[in-house]
């Protein structure tokens, strides 16, 4: 298995990222979706979504159940192919890229349900993403760094099945970050965790964002958690972007409050 970037499908007709969204004063757009539509039979899970993430940004994605948050993430990772629309990453149209080729370009993901390898130790879990691109001393160093980033020092040889739910979430974030991504997608990283565990995860996300410069898209329902970490928030509703802005504005927006309480919004 050649793990280098040589076999990444390169589009001979690489289109440039379309103009950054109208309100965007920043220009370093890392990810941009352009009119993204995903239909499952008659149900439209993503309805012409224009969504952008700047380099090094920490953006939270909120919205009521069924708003299309997980679908949007799965479209970005390539798990689902869009019915219409395009996805640009770092200036390249990646809409038709296989998931593994998107990963090699710098997109990484933590799944909603902790997806760790229960039979393997923490160290062997972290080894899996790292061994694709690092050998020898560098491999050992990166594995160690990922374990530190996950806050699991001292647990190196413990099987993942023996970790608590919170530690498994930490481990998976560590594994996703071990790929050295530019964009890390987290699907509900603190679901089912205690207040202390939530704070621990929040600290780790903030540190990875500030120290490693990784851009984040975090799906989360808990507005306190969101307020603690996010620069910007995007609200999805009925498969489309409903509001974007700082968390304080979003929280106090009556239309947002209304959709969370089951209304139709505006």
């Amino acid at each position: 298995m050649s793990a280098d970037d040589a076999d990444v499908v390169s589009d001979p007709d690489i289109r440039q990222t379309p103009a950054v969204k109208a309100t965007g004063e920043r220009t370093d757009t890392l990810l941009q979706t352009d009119g993204l539509v995903k239909q499952f039979g008659g149900f439209t899970a993503a309805d012409s979504v224009d969504f952008a993430v700047e380099e090094g940004e920490l953006r939270c994605l909120i919205g009521p159940n069924g708003a299309g948050k997980s679908t949007l993430l799965k479209l970005i990772t390539g798990k689902h192919a869009p019915t219409e629309g395009s996805i640009y990453y770092d200036g390249t149209d990646i809409t038709d890229f296989e998931p593994q080729d998107r990963v090699k370009r710098g997109i990484s993901m933590k799944f909603q349900v902790p997806s760790v390898y229960n039979d393997l130790s923490v160290r062997e879990n972290v080894r899996l993403p790292v061994q694709r691109f690092a050998t020898g001393e560098e491999r050992a160093r990166r594995i160690h760094e990922a374990i530190v980033a996950a806050g699991l020092e001292g647990y190196e040889d413990v099987p993942a099945s023996s970790l608590s739910h919170g530690q498994q979430q930490q481990l998976e974030i560590g594994m996703a970050a071990a790929l050295d991504p530019d964009l890390l997608l987290l699907d509900e990283p603190v679901a089912g965790l205690s207040v202390e565990e939530r704070q621990g995860i929040a600290d780790r996300i903030t540190r990875l964002n500030e120290e490693a410069g990784i851009a984040f898209v975090v799906i989360e329902h808990d507005t306190d958690f969101v307020a603690g970490i996010a620069d910007e928030v995007t609200v999805l509703h009925q498969g489309d972007v409903f509001r974007e802005g700082p968390i304080e504005e979003i929280e106090s927006d009556p239309a947002v409050q209304k959709i969370y309480l089951g209304g139709e919004g505006e």
Binding site: Q100, V103, R127, D157
Partner: protein
């Protein structure tokens, strides 16, 4: 105990070889295991002096088929009923080519082509399945149907129109008179392996007879087992196991899941093809029963009983169950096998070899998961 873990004691060539053969994906990562392994191989070597090497050579040939399923199903998570398709294609290819070119060179080419044939058919099927998005139980159904298609097809090849060169496929009568397996290059060096007994005068025991085919099979099986151990404990093997456990997670580490599955399926096909070639060589005969439902089910039973996540389990259970099968008269053998399969699925779903391994660990007072117990053992993750 510290000297028996994989993480240390790696000095010297023996240590380096052990580092390649040991890891989380195989049982037996200790000196004790390798001592027992050596005794086992020695047992196989001296067995012809006390028992019937003829039957055992058949079981050892079939153990290769068991190993092919263990790799594909046990390690990559693809439950295939189609290993016998690749087995049969290997056997028939060997028969057709060797009958048409019955010289040692021709027969050697037939051996190679049989293996390639098994691999090619597996690659073709695997390509359409894995790149066509077929997963899980649907792979099982497609492979099962493919064995039935092959059985039906080969059964109707009795007519003279089904002749390839001098080789008649023969329908249900099968293909008799397959040349005796010999390897080498004509007029340079050749050695006949089947029905060739070598006599040696030994100092203490007197005249000793060696059935070359039996020792050839023992060698092939031991090398295959060790090679597969190295494979499943390598970086690539770890990715195979990761795919078995969670395809989506593994894909999001940047691995090409479809390609890995295709490669493993093809390797499994080659191995099954080799088993088929040796089966046809040993019996000097092959017929469509190798594509039958009963035979297609056997590898699944061997691997389930032995422990599908254990290469050793596949070998041990193949030999044990086949011994049982030829010892029991008539159709009762199938009843016993069915009961055995059900009993293992209900009581010991992990299979017998991993269970024994767990029991031995407990006896030594080790929790099974405490294996790599040196906290400062970066060698564990930096090998290979």
């Amino acid at each position: 105990m510290a000297t028996e873990t994989t993480a240390d004691g790696r000095a010297g060539p023996v240590g380096r070889i052990r580092a390649r053969l040991e890891g989380p994906n195989t049982v037996g990562n200790s000196r004790r295991f390798w001592a027992a392994f050596a005794v086992g191989v020695l047992g196989l070597v001296v067995y012809p002096a006390i028992g019937d090497a003829g039957d055992l050579s058949l079981f050892l040939v079939l153990a290769l088929l068991g190993l092919s399923l263990s790799v594909v199903w046990g390690y990559a998570g693809v439950l295939s009923f189609g290993q016998v398709v690749f087995f049969g294609v290997g056997g028939y290819t060997f028969g057709v080519v060797s009958i048409n070119h019955a010289t040692p060179s021709g027969i050697t080419a037939a051996l190679v082509l049989g293996v390639v044939g098994g691999a090619l058919v597996a690659a073709l099927m695997g390509y359409f399945m894995f790149y066509g998005g077929v997963r899980n139980v649907y792979v099982t159904i497609i492979t099962l149907v493919s064995t039935m298609v092959m059985h039906t097809f080969m059964a109707q090849t009795a007519g003279s129109e089904w002749t390839i060169g001098d080789a008649a496929l023969g329908g249900f009568n099968g293909m008799p008179a397959i040349p005796l397996l010999a390897v080498g290059i004509d007029e340079v060096f050749t050695i006949q392996l089947v029905r060739n007994t070598v006599e040696l005068q030994a100092p203490v025991v007197g005249l000793v007879e060696f059935d070359l085919f039996y020792y050839f099979i023992v060698g092939v099986l031991v090398l295959t087992y060790l090679g597969l151990r190295a494979l499943v404990n390598s970086d690539y093997g770890r990715v195979m196991v990761a795919i078995r456990e969670d395809e989506d997670r593994t894909r999001m580490f940047g691995y090409d899941v479809k390609r890995v599955k295709l490669v493993v399926f093809t390797v499994g096909g080659a191995l099954a093809g080799l088993s088929g070639v040796l089966y046809a060589s040993r019996n000097i005969f092959i017929d469509p029963q190798v594509f039958g439902l009963t035979f297609a089910t056997l590898p699944v039973i061997w691997v389930s009983v032995g422990g599908r996540k254990s290469l050793l389990g596949a070998v041990v259970a193949t030999i044990g169950i086949e011994y049982l099968r030829v010892s029991i008269e008539g159709e009762w053998a199938l009843v016993v096998l069915g009961v055995l399969l059900l009993a293992f699925i209900l009581a010991l779903p992990g299979g017998i070899v991993p269970w024994i391994d767990g029991q031995l660990d407990q006896q030594r007072g080790e929790a099974p998961e405490s294996r790599p117990d040196a906290p400062d053992a970066p060698a564990e993750v930096t090998d290979s």
